[in-house]
């Protein structure tokens, strides 16, 4: 296993922590942590004999193993070992210490992680293609839950709480006769759950746009099946109102020789947390995952993605780009790529780029690559966070470009690369305009 970024324990633990006296453990984890939960010998760490009585016992670093209670969680040794379950009880109450929640301000989730999600789900309207089937089904529909299994507490809570699901099917060997626009419009702030299933049957071809707007407190599961030989693009646009809270798991199961493209565009909302996954289930498939996010003052935009190479000869490319402006604008990007032992011939590369436009913004970027076989084509990742500073501005202005235009030039150029991947001209244009509005709103 090669893991280039250490993820054992959060150095900057979220303040919501209900466990207050873990300081020494935190330090120990950083100094002596093995890069996985390899068998911890009783009373002995890599530093030598344990100094803290807390470490007595067989648990790693003195922490308890997964339990259904309120105890701290031992981080998984491999991304592939993360708990997956439909049972909410399998996910302990969040403390903010969990590896996958450590960047998320839980207090701003407005109860999505604690409350029953009984609010009215946002309205769903599907338009744009005549030869695509759209159904609203009850919880009992056998197709639900076949492509995705919740991987975190909010996702599990959403699974348990939704009342009706929207199922969009692109029939076998059908090319959708237009872009499938799925408008998700919120108008309530009670915590709600939503379930959407997108099924691209074998050899079908379609672009599906999830267009989120309005005001919500929403836990959402989007399940995606990309059938053998199918070609599916799913674009998830978050242009929520300023107060919206949106936590969305978007898992895709990718079939043999399929082509799957997933694009995230997060612009509006108070807190948006997306966890898109691509799970290869048969050889020969290709996945591209793109993301664009633009955080203003106070906004928290988070994306944690997983590419699971579980089978041979698949290819994946991940490119996420983010811009930040204003005080306490915060973006998080965590890219987990897992190449399992069986995934020989894998070719993968992931990139994250962030551009900080003003003081007071924070961008976290964590690329993780786990490789369990050496017989691969290639695997790499890159992450860079730069800032647009006075020297850049001076350079552009010294060439006659006014200050406002100079800033826009930089941001536009930076983000356009992702917008161009959508390949739906009308939507590309709309999103370019949205980015312009973001720029204008930030007094840039």
């Amino acid at each position: 296993m090669a893991e280039t970024t250490h993820t054992e324990f959060p150095p900057n633990t979220a303040p919501e922590s209900e466990v207050t006296d873990l300081g020494d453990l935190d330090e120990k984890a950083r100094l002596g942590a093995p890069s996985g939960a390899s068998a911890a010998i009783d009373g002995l760490t890599e530093e030598g004999e344990t100094l803290s009585p807390r470490n007595a016992g067989s648990e790693q670093f003195g922490l308890k193993k997964h339990s259904h209670g309120n105890a701290p969680v031992v981080p998984e040794a491999s991304r592939g070992e993360r708990r997956r379950s439909f049972d909410l009880a399998d996910f302990p109450t969040l403390t903010g210490l969990e590896e996958d929640w450590r960047f998320t301000p839980l207090k701003r989730l407005r109860g999505l992680h604690t409350d029953a999600l009984t609010g009215a789900a946002p309205a769903v309207e599907v338009t744009g293609a005549g030869n695509v089937t759209v159904e609203t089904v009850g919880r009992g529909d056998a197709r639900l839950g076949t492509a995705a299994t919740p991987e975190d507490r909010v996702s599990a809570a959403a699974w348990n709480a939704f009342t009706g699901a929207t199922v969009i099917t692109i029939p076998k060997e059908t090319v959708a006769d237009g872009e499938v626009m799925v408008s998700v419009t919120g108008s309530a702030s009670e915590a709600a759950a939503q379930h959407i299933l997108i099924r691209a049957e074998a050899f079908s071809k379609a672009v599906v746009v999830l267009d989120h707007s309005g005001s919500v407190t929403l836990a959402q599961n989007v399940e995606i099946v990309v059938g053998d030989g199918a070609e599916l693009t799913v674009v998830s646009v978050q242009e929520w109102d300023d107060d919206a809270v949106h936590v969305s798991s978007q898992q895709a199961k990718v079939g043999r020789d399929a082509r799957y493209k997933h694009v995230v565009v997060s612009l509006g909302g108070d807190l948006v947390r997306l966890t898109p996954s691509s799970i290869f289930t048969a050889p020969g498939a290709e996945v591209e995952m793109y993301g664009l996010y633009f955080a203003d003052a106070g906004q928290h935009l988070e994306q944690r993605l997983l590419v699971d190479h579980a089978v041979p000869n698949c290819k994946s490319r991940v490119t996420y780009k983010g811009a930040l402006q204003g005080k306490d604008a915060h973006t998080v990007w965590v890219g987990d790529v897992l190449i399992r032992k069986a995934a020989e011939g894998t070719d993968t590369y992931e990139t994250n780029r962030n551009l900080i436009l003003t003081d007071g913004a924070r961008s976290d970027s964590v690329p993780n690559l786990e490789i369990e076989t050496g017989l691969i084509e290639g695997a790499g990742h890159a992450s860079a966070t730069g800032r647009f500073d006075d020297e850049h501005l001076f350079y552009l202005m010294a060439r006659g470009i006014p200050e406002k235009d100079a800033r826009r030039l930089v941001v536009r150029g930076f983000l356009t690369e992702v917008i161009q991947q959508i390949k739906v001209p009308a939507l590309e244009e709309r999103l370019s305009e949205s980015v312009e509005r973001e720029l204008a709103a930030g007094n840039l």
Binding site: F394, M397, R399, L415
Partner: protein
Amino acid sequence: MSTLEIKDLHVSIDTEQGNIPILKGVTLTINTGETHAIMGPNGSGKSTLASTIAGHPRYKVDSGSITLDGEDVLSMSVDERARAGLFLAMQYPVEVPGVTMTNFLRTAKTALEGEAPSLRHWTKDVKAAMSQLRIDADFAQRNVNEGFSGGEKKRVEILQLELFRPKFAILDETDSGLDVDALKVVSEGVNREHSKGEMGTLLITHYTRILRYIKPDFVHVFVAGRIAEEGGPELADRLEEEGYDRFTAQSAVEA
């Protein structure tokens, strides 16, 4: 015919140690068609003069004036100065993320001219200028200065000089860090533009080497924030033989 006039310019910078005066009364007049070389030892204030003319926010003008054809340059913002016809070829051009050279050049030209250049002619001009400066064609698609070597960055500065056609070009140690071949290519670019007779040039350099390729009409020696000596091209020859010792010794005595 334009005139850039600098009168009794005093400039300082604010540092953690307090305000430090750098230029202590610089007076200089440059006309269209003239090439002035400013030479001097490190720390004499040469680059400060260049950056002050361009309007870098770090430099504080305490007194004196800079005018372009009578217009007050000091009251203009950085971009207004550029649009008025001043061009600074920077000593350390920065890398600008997210902006391709093509996009940058066209945006700047549009800002400078007040209207977008005709696409067909512009593309041709850019290609021709790049090839004359031996800049690889694929640089056009790369981000501004990103990953360029020191020499490539300097060539790109001169590329802009040739495309933007300023009234006055200020070359801030454009020669430093260049090998002989690159120095020739860069000098040819400056000479090509200068020979059109519509530009005045202020050439700031530490070394006399570039003066073999770009012939100055006037040479000013900068020492400790002032012009210590002025003359014709022969002064550069003398500096080449004697170095700056005689000036630095002199200023040490004065101090």
